[in-house]
Symmetry: C2
Subunit: 316 residues, 2 copies
DNA sequence: TCAAAAGTGTTATCCTTACACCCATGT
DNA sequence: ACATGGGTGTAAGGATAACACTTTTGA
């Protein structure tokens, strides 16, 4: 174990999936005109990985970052810096409100379903699933030589994309992207395999690609958000100071990519006791005016993460 | 953005939390006579981080690694290699069965509650919580100057350690360790702060320390295992080919650190349909002989990760 | 007056929890 | 016979999902 061998030296990079919800749309901060996620170096001076991320994101966007959590660390074989060293990318998820004080060129907020059109089920099942994705994947499944592999692929397709009586699971966005990648149906896969696509986008699934593996990191971030809103009060970080229940519901729907059952959503909010009324009402909307709410500051104490699901014996 | 600045270069290390359950005890593979977790370099030759981990763990233990997942990436300020570079440690969790084919000296399996005695509630609440931990933490809470900070600390203590009517949550092992660290009640914290403890272990909480931040990484691994057994069939990887329901229950209890309600546990297993009877019976135990089970190979397809918990609207 | 959106009540169903009890074997 | 552990039945309680319905505003 030679501790300082040169082949053990790598370049470290911090990649951020910064999420906001604006006017009912889920948004992500991008660089290079939407083709990459903001990425910055991890430097000796940084106290920790998270501190490094906060430092340069706040430098770029000029407003403080609220909730931050680590996503995943990647070291893909084809990520190599100019000196031939491997690049280790540490992905982070950050939740904020959108700010227009971004000073840097080519940096801006993008709707995230531009990258994953098949993930937006808010107006029912997207037609491109039946039209483009499932046929493309079926072709890929049929190309396997081994018949066992073929049925295995078909099962996996049905399971991940909610076909053949499997339910759609919005949390499986990463698995879906990886399946499309494996099947060669996204430009990033074609690019990597080295075959220059001749006629452009033939057979490929619509959805804007990104550089390197950034669309995969974005999928990881979206998956984490979608899973997290179900058991942690993270909407805190994404909403303005005051909001109506419908605005909150619309924001959750934007993130989950699905519509919610309004009466049950309201009841859920009521019984969780995370909100309090401000007393004021929203104005300027059609229909009956809605009450305004804010998140309760005093309930911060992590909302008793019950989390059982194993049949524990009662302590005597 | 100078891409190849020297302050951007780091050393990458892979750290493994390898878990097994043997004779009803939860075990972890350690090096340096139990003072460290196995750690190996990430090298240029490795296809990916996970491939690198698999490669050297299998070289060390001489048996293939089953389930592996990434835990977390750390870059603590005090981890610096001989050339003054920062060390980035990528932690991995691996689940296996214990093997005695470990060839390397000072490497072996340890019971994990030796490192976290307060986490073992299988025989009721460990007395050292009332005797040592809560008094120690109370002192620390009282040392804060700001009265708000004092009450905040007390709330956090009660919440994390399940005092004052908060329930004990076995998943919060990392938060508990970090709280003890902050309060200076574990040797690692004393060591870092530079105060050499004069009289030895006075006031410190019992529990074997580890080098660097390895005990923290171990806590992260245990937390992940405890959370995971509740919603994924990971016991697959830890059990022998055939086992009784009681053996399975004992293994889960070892990991969770709590006793389970036997009749309900059995029912849960039955309705999940993850198991099938082998037809054989266990022999050589007192009492009525138990049926032997095995995991069903054909049900691998991820057991329909239902995962709702938001009031979705029904798709028409 | 009517459309649009806010908001409430109620029931069927399922899952979890807890308690009570019977079964099969060795000593 | 009885201790020990294996195994089953069932009822109470809580959470969720689905349906039907009332209220309040602006055009």
């Amino acid at each position: 174990m030679t501790a300082f061998a040169p082949d053990r030296v790598v370049t470290a990079e911090l990649v951020a999936v910064l999420v906001a919800v604006t006017r009912g749309q889920p948004r992500v901060l991008t660089t290079q005109c939407g083709q990459a996620l903001p990425a910055g170096p991890f430097q000796q001076a940084h106290r920790s990985l998270q501190a490094g991320l906060r430092a340069w994101v706040e430098a770029q966007t000029h407003h403080p970052l609220g909730y931050v959590e680590q996503l995943y660390t990647f070291a893909d074989q084809d990520r190599i810096d100019g000196a031939g060293r491997r690049v280790v990318s540490v992905g982070y998820l950050g939740l904020t409100r959108e700010s227009d004080s971004i000073a840097v060129d080519n940096v801006g907020w993008q709707d995230w379903y531009g990258y994953f059109p098949w993930e937006d089920w808010r107006n029912g099942i997207p037609s491109l699933i039946e039209r483009v994705i499932l046929p493309g994947l079926a072709t890929w499944a049929g190309q396997a030589d081994d018949p066992n592999e073929r049925t295995h692929r078909r099962q996996r397709i049905a399971f991940t994309f909610g076909a053949e009586d499997f339910p759609w699971n919005e949390d499986m966005i990463l698995q879906r992207y990886e399946l499309l990648f494996e099947a060669g149906l996204v430009p990033e896969a074609v690019r990597r395999s080295g075959h220059p696509q001749p006629g452009g986008a033939e057979g490929l699934v619509p959805g804007q690609p990104m550089n390197h593996d950034h669309r995969r990191i974005l999928a990881t971030g979206i998956a984490r958000v979608r899973a997290k809103i179900k058991y942690r009060p993270v909407m805190f970080e994404l909403m303005p100071a005051e909001f109506t229940l419908t605005q909150l519901q619309t924001a959750v729907e934007a993130l989950a990519g699905r519509e919610l059952h309004t009466p049950n959503f309201r009841r859920l909010m009521a019984q969780q006791a995370l909100l309090e009324e401000t007393g004021a009402m929203a104005t300027g909307t059609p229909g009956r005016p809605a009450r305004l709410y804010r998140f309760r500051r005093d309930v911060r104490l992590e909302r008793a993460i019950a989390g059982t699901s194993l049949p524990f014996a009662r302590q005597p």
